[in-house]
């Protein structure tokens, strides 16, 4: 059932039973055409109704009403720009600032602070108060990740509701009452859950900051670039905060079909993998002395091609064991499919091994790879058969994309399983146990250093784009495979071709029906479900 409402003269049809703010949010016009400033209301938390900033005028109702808790009714006529509304907002803003420390110059939130923004937009430009401001604690550690500045807090209680309603851990409370109220954790029970850092995102002011980001970078220097978290297969949407070609933070980007407005702490911290010191910085080839040494891409390709050619000549495509990466993009993996086809091997002959870890009912998925679902959707098989071929000696060369096959989940560091191999060719982003025994190593780009798509655990295809440019030589797995195909002069790889992820992405749909109409340029910033998936 829908009802018709009029807001500032514009007519809207909205779902019955919604409150005004919910209805405006559903329409996508809240703070995006219809300005109803608010603090305590958050689209994914229960209604609090305490900040009183979202007051609007509803025709036929004598008092101003708070839009967050006023249900829409058919024929409702709302004014958000009237003089009464303007005055009411001004009043709330003035009161919120009476005790605020106004320490914006040293506040991390400055630049993305709703108190700053709304004071500028809806407040008065000077304070009438001559009274001393409330003095409270400036640095309270609420837990291992979050610091509270009690003076800056406007007591919207979003953080309190978040802990109760989202992770369900309820660590935070309002202690004391009146203007002595402060946010606090229970003694001996710090704010410590898998989602704790979200409270800093939803804090409209600089009261809650993450220990990780605070004092690192002024936010106005950051470009907030859309991306997808690669911490697990949930595919939470993020903004990567980038300055000076460096990622300083991830913050969740709202996508109601995936992560709503949240991200787990582990995923948030996974931005560090991009600039990590353990990145593989250049192609390497193992020399006669048994040591890996830096090499040019051409040399590395030549060595890899020679190893592969020797294996194929000895035992055909069977002699090449291939591990497909659950971290690579769908486009990279399509390139792998083509490479395998040129070798005469079916895609299912390549295996996908996915690292695993803790999961929950909220966002955390067991598979700790961003494109595990995509790799399977592209037809790659399980890793066990591939490992068996390696162990048995049937395979002479291992071509591993983004895999630490020696990781605890697989070979548990048992190097002897690889003893019969003539060569290990590795395409990966980070150093690993496998890298230490590989013969040729190619540095791969991180998912947020390239253009492409990732398919999350629910089968939703989402776009990634380069948010930073690696400060060293690194390539997409797809591009390295293209070059390797050329070096091997495989059928279909005769003509040197540029790596064009747009074009590769377009052909996903041609080769795989599930991708029909879905490519990097059509999925937008919120993604699209694979055909046949409800995500």
């Amino acid at each position: 059932m829908t009802v018709r409402i009029t807001v500032d003269g514009a007519a809207y049809e909205v779902e019955e039973g919604r409150t005004l703010l919910q209805a405006l949010d559903d329409l996508g016009v809240l703070m995006n055409g219809v300005e109803v400033p608010h603090y305590c209301w958050h689209p994914k938390l229960s209604i609090d109704g305490s900040c009183r900033l979202c007051q609007v005028e509803v025709e036929g109702v004598p008092k101003l009403q708070i839009a967050c808790d006023t249900r829409v009714t058919d024929g409702m006529v709302v004014h958000t720009k009237s003089e009464r509304v303007r005055k009411a907002r001004e009043g709330v803003m003035e009161l919120l600032l009476v005790n605020h420390p106004l320490d914006c110059p040293i506040c991390d939130q400055a630049g993305e602070c709703k108190l700053q923004d709304y004071a500028f937009e809806y407040g008065v430009q000077h304070s009438r108060s001559r009274e001393p401001r409330r003095a409270l604690e400036k640095r309270v550690e609420l837990g291992p990740t979050i610091v509270l500045d009690q003076e800056r807090c406007i007591l919207c209680r979003r953080c309190v509701r978040f802990c109760r309603e989202v992770p369900g851990t309820g660590e935070l409370v309002v202690e004391n009452r009146g203007d002595r109220s402060v946010i606090a954790a229970f003694p001996g029970a710090p704010l410590d859950n898998d989602y704790s850092m979200n409270v800093a995102d939803i804090c409209p002011v600089g009261a809650l900051t993450t220990k990780d980001f605070r004092f690192k970078m002024r936010v106005w220097f950051l470009d907030e670039l859309p991306g997808v978290c690669t911490g697990c297969s949930a595919g939470c949407n993020i903004h990567a905060g980038v300055a000076n070609n460096r990622v300083y933070r991830y913050v969740p980007r709202r996508n109601d079909a995936v992560n709503e407005t949240w991200i787990c702490d582990a995923g948030r911290m996974s931005y560090r993998e991009i600039g990590s010191a353990s990145r593989i910085h250049h192609p390497q080839v193992r020399g006669a002395d048994g040591r890996l040494t830096a090499a040019g891409l051409g040399d590395a390709l030549a060595v890899a091609a020679a190893r592969l050619r020797a294996a194929i000549e000895g035992g055909g495509a069977e002699a090449v064991a291939v591990l497909a990466s659950p971290h690579a993009t769908n486009e990279d993996l399509l390139a792998l499919r083509r490479f395998l086809a040129a070798l005469g091997a079916p895609p299912e002959s390549a295996g996908v091994a996915v690292p695993t870890g803790a999961s929950d009912d909220l966002l955390l998925r067991e598979e700790k790879a961003a494109n595990a679902f995509g790799a399977r959707a592209l037809g790659f098989g399980g890793a066990d058969a591939v490992i068996e071929r390696v162990r048995s000696g049937a395979a002479r060369v291992l071509l591993a994309l983004g895999h630490d096959i020696l990781a605890p989940a697989h070979l548990r560091g048992d190097v002897s399983a690889l003893a019969l191999l003539d060569g290990v060719i590795l395409l990966d982003t980070h150093r690993s146990a496998l890298e230490r025994i590989a013969h040729v190593v190619f540095p791969a780009r991180h998912a947020l250093e390239k253009l492409g798509t990732l398919t999350n655990a629910a089968g939703r295809v989402q776009r990634v784009q380069p948010v930073v440019e690696p400060a060293f030589a690194a390539w997409s797995e797809g591009e390295i495979l293209l070059r390797l195909g050329e070096a091997l002069a495989l059928p279909g790889f005769e003509e040197p071709a540029a790596w064009d992820p747009h074009a590769v992405s377009k052909s996903l749909g041609e080769e795989l029906p599930a991708f029909a109409g879905i490519d990097v340029d059509s999925v937008g910033h919120e993604g699209l479900p694979l055909r046949g998936e409800s995500a």
């Binding site: 109704g49 009183r52 101003l64 709330v92 009476v98 004391n176 009146g178």
Partner: protein, 432 residues
């Protein structure tokens, strides 16, 4: 020893001088529980609600909401358990009437509760008593036990198939727990913070169930209305405000105390005729008519009849009938400081205007009293109080704003003298 009652008595307090009246036997001797018997055995709940509506009884907890109407809000034909709550959190400064009703007439209250429970179909009443009221709590607990043993409460009250239980709950000691939804939160074991409305308690009350919350005195009127009829009740008091109420008179009067009088009795009659006027031959300066949250009246307006309709014309309200008399030695800025301090201290802190406004007002008032007031302070006070009015989850912010507005309306000279002389022009004996 009987209670010495210099007070004027009427039907509520008639027997309060008799110690025996506290006991079930004493209460029964005065016709106690006959009204409940009549209601439960001979009156349909709808008829009872009609009777209370016809009587014109208004809630005595401060807001003066029509009691019968409130009862009629309880949803019909629902399986959910229904509750009554008796608000005995009496915490309005200047009010002490419920205490005497609890201590001296516990069975009158239980009878009123029982009748109301029958009317709204409630299975249980939570009697929420202010934490500091230990003696009233003791008396009530004993009376509840007696009423249970004698078959008034519990399974099959008075031989009917109606059952009702009264559960006594001690409050934690916050003013805001007297606000009905703040009370419900506290009752549920949570922090006493008013709920946003709707949903109203009749729909979503104690533990989420349909609930009616009434003040102690409101319940106490009910047996008398049932016994003697709506017409009798309407014959007392004014046309719009029938019945008596218990005025609590405190401050600069010769005989402070409780006076049960018909609504509409003039303030002058109460202060001079009953409470004996101001001692020491001094003059009255101002009177707060209904508990601290109600705006003050100047001496010139003591002719006002003490009923909501007439008090509203003077921009104040009956509130809880707590009358506070101040003589001409009183500094109205200090009065403002005391009031503002109380409301700052008691604000629950949820809503911006209340949390920040109460503190700001107190700071300004204290500064004026110290002699550090500046031009523009009074305008800011009025403006802040206006911003607090009608804009928050509950009426606490209004209760904090109105008395300051009242002081500035009638005693602006006091404030301006402070500003002009940069000190308090009143005697030095008083310290905040």
């Amino acid at each position: 020893m009987g209670l010495k009652v210099p007070h004027t008595t009427n039907y509520l307090t008639e027997h309060f001088g008799d110690d025996g009246f506290v006991s079930l036997k004493g209460y029964e001797a005065q016709g106690g529980y006959e009204a409940a018997r009549k209601a439960l055995t001979r009156m349909q709940p709808e008829k009872l609600i009609e009777l209370v509506k016809d009587s014109g009884l208004q809630g005595r907890g401060g807001a003066g909401f029509p009691t019968g109407l409130k009862w009629s809000f309880m949803p019909k034909d629902e399986d959910r358990p229904r509750f009554l709550v008796c608000n005995a959190d009496e915490s309005e400064p200047g009010s002490f009437k419920d205490r005497i009703l609890l201590e001296r007439g516990p069975h009158q209250l239980i009878e009123g509760i029982l009748i109301a429970a029958w009317a709204v179909g409630a299975e249980k009443t939570f009697l929420y008593i202010r934490g500091e009221y230990s003696e009233p709590a003791r008396v009530m607990q004993q009376a509840i036990a007696e009423a249970g043993e004698s078959g008034y409460l519990g399974q099959g009250a008075m031989g009917t198939n109606f059952s009702h239980e009264v559960v006594l709950v001690r409050g934690g000691g916050a003013y805001i727990c007297g606000e009905e939804t703040g009370l419900l939160e506290s009752l549920e074991g949570k922090k006493g913070q008013p709920r946003k409305k709707p949903p109203y308690p009749a729909e979503f009350g104690a533990f989420g169930m349909p609930t009616t919350v009434n003040n102690v005195e409101t319940f106490c009127h009910v047996p008398h209305i049932v016994r003697r009829g709506a017409e009798w009740f309407r014959g007392i008091g004014t046309e719009k405000s029938p019945g008596t109420t218990i005025f609590g008179v405190s401050g600069h009067v010769v005989r402070p105390g409780l006076y049960e009088l018909p609504l509409g009795t003039s303030l002058e009659q109460i202060v001079f005729g009953h409470a004996g006027g101001v001692p020491g031959g001094r003059e009255i300066k101002g009177v707060i008519p209904g508990g601290m949250s109600m705006p003050i009246l100047p001496a010139a307006e003591l002719d006002v009849p003490m009923a909501n309709e007439s008090l509203r014309e003077r921009q104040t309200m009956l509130g809880t009938g707590g009358i506070m008399v101040m003589d001409d030695t009183t500094c109205m800025v200090r009065v403002g400081c005391v009031i503002a301090h109380f409301f700052r201290d008691e604000s629950c802190g949820q809503c911006t205007q209340c949390r920040e406004g109460t503190g700001w007002m107190e700071k300004i008032l204290n500064r004026i009293e110290r002699g550090a007031g500046e031009e523009g302070d009074l305008e800011i006070l009025l403006d802040v109080s206006a911003k607090m009015e009608g804009a928050t989850i509950c009426a606490f912010a209004d209760a904090a704003a109105w008395p300051i507005q009242g002081l500035l309306r009638h005693f602006r000279d006091d404030f301006e003298m402070h500003l002009r002389h940069h000190r308090c022009p009143f005697h030095e004996g008083f310290r905040l």
